[in-house]
């Protein structure tokens, strides 16, 4: 076993463990903190695969922006362990069976899939900022501009939704 294999296995195991803790920990704030850890570990996986641009964007967008938003909302609503809605034990068992069945089916279907042999490459450079920027601003420039329209729509929608109705009428 090479050292990279060991690193990949340990990183994968830690990712699965902290993702499980997101689901299983009863305290919502602790759940959010475990999710941030999960995102950092996934970024580690990206770096291992030499996708450096995606790794940095993952940390900035997910661990930086989205998770801070989640944490803000959790603290704003003042949720704690006491007023956490609980699901019944029957529901939990059924959910575990359903999730396990999905996992089994997916793994059984994908296990024996034939995957084309990888292309021979001396250096693996396509994850660098330079190459991705080249792709983003030539081949995918239209979706890139469309995403800014999506963001404006999301921003207006969020402001409109979070405002109280009385304030809109006035």
């Amino acid at each position: 076993m090479s050292s990279l294999e060991i690193i990949a296995t340990v990183l994968g195991g830690l990712t699965i463990g902290s993702a499980l803790m997101v689901v299983l920990s009863p305290h919502p704030v602790r759940s959010v903190l475990y999710l941030i850890l999960t995102f950092f570990l996934i970024s580690g996986n990206y770096i291992l695969m030499n996708a450096q641009f995606i790794a940095v964007v993952n940390i900035i967008v997910y661990a930086g922006a989205i998770m801070v938003l989640f944490l803000f909302v959790l603290m704003l609503l003042n949720l704690s362990k006491d007023n956490e809605p609980k699901s019944s034990i029957k529901m939990k068992i059924a959910a575990t069976f359903a999730g396990g069945a999905l996992l089994t089916v997916l793994i059984a279907a994908l296990k024996d899939s034939v995957i084309l042999p990888k292309t021979e490459m001396l250096e693996n450079q396509q994850g660098m900022v330079e190459n991705l920027g080249q792709l983003l601003f030539t081949k995918y420039v239209l979706p890139f501009e469309m995403s800014s329209i999506l963001f404006i729509a999301a921003m207006v929608g969020a402001v409109l939704l979070a405002k109280r109705e009385k304030q809109i009428i006035e």
């Binding site: 990949a8 059924a94 999730g99 999905l102 792709l135 963001f151 939704l161």
Partner: protein, 109 residues
């Protein structure tokens, strides 16, 4: 900086297929098992990240950068989705003083 592909050092693509499948299943489990609507949204993010991980793995495997651009767009859409979802949850909390996902049953009318 690791310049050689990780797939040349013995890690197989199957490893990442299994890893992201397990992550996806954990996300599904969380959506089914939790009743706190914020945690349900977080589990949707885990599922999105499982897909992203597999996309990047195949992108590295085939030496093709297009998939990483798609991962970038998935992150863009996820950010917009999280904003709208959370503002809907704030609205739900303001009306009911609770974030129980079962309260959405009221939408049935």
């Amino acid at each position: 900086m690791i310049l050689a592909s990780i797939f040349e050092s013995g890690v197989s693509i199957q490893f990442y297929i299994v890893l992201s499948t397990i992550l996806f299943a954990i996300g599904v489990l969380g959506v089914l098992i939790r009743k706190n609507a914020i945690i349900v949204l977080m589990c949707v993010e885990i599922m999105l990240n499982a897909v992203n991980l597999l996309m990047v793995a195949f992108s590295t495997y085939f030496g093709n950068g297009d998939a990483q651009v798609f991962v970038f767009f998935i992150m863009v859409v996820a950010a917009a989705e999280a904003t709208i979802g959370l503002s809907i949850l704030v609205l739900l909390y303001r009306n009911n003083r609770s974030v129980d996902i079962g309260l959405f049953n009221k939408l049935k009318g």
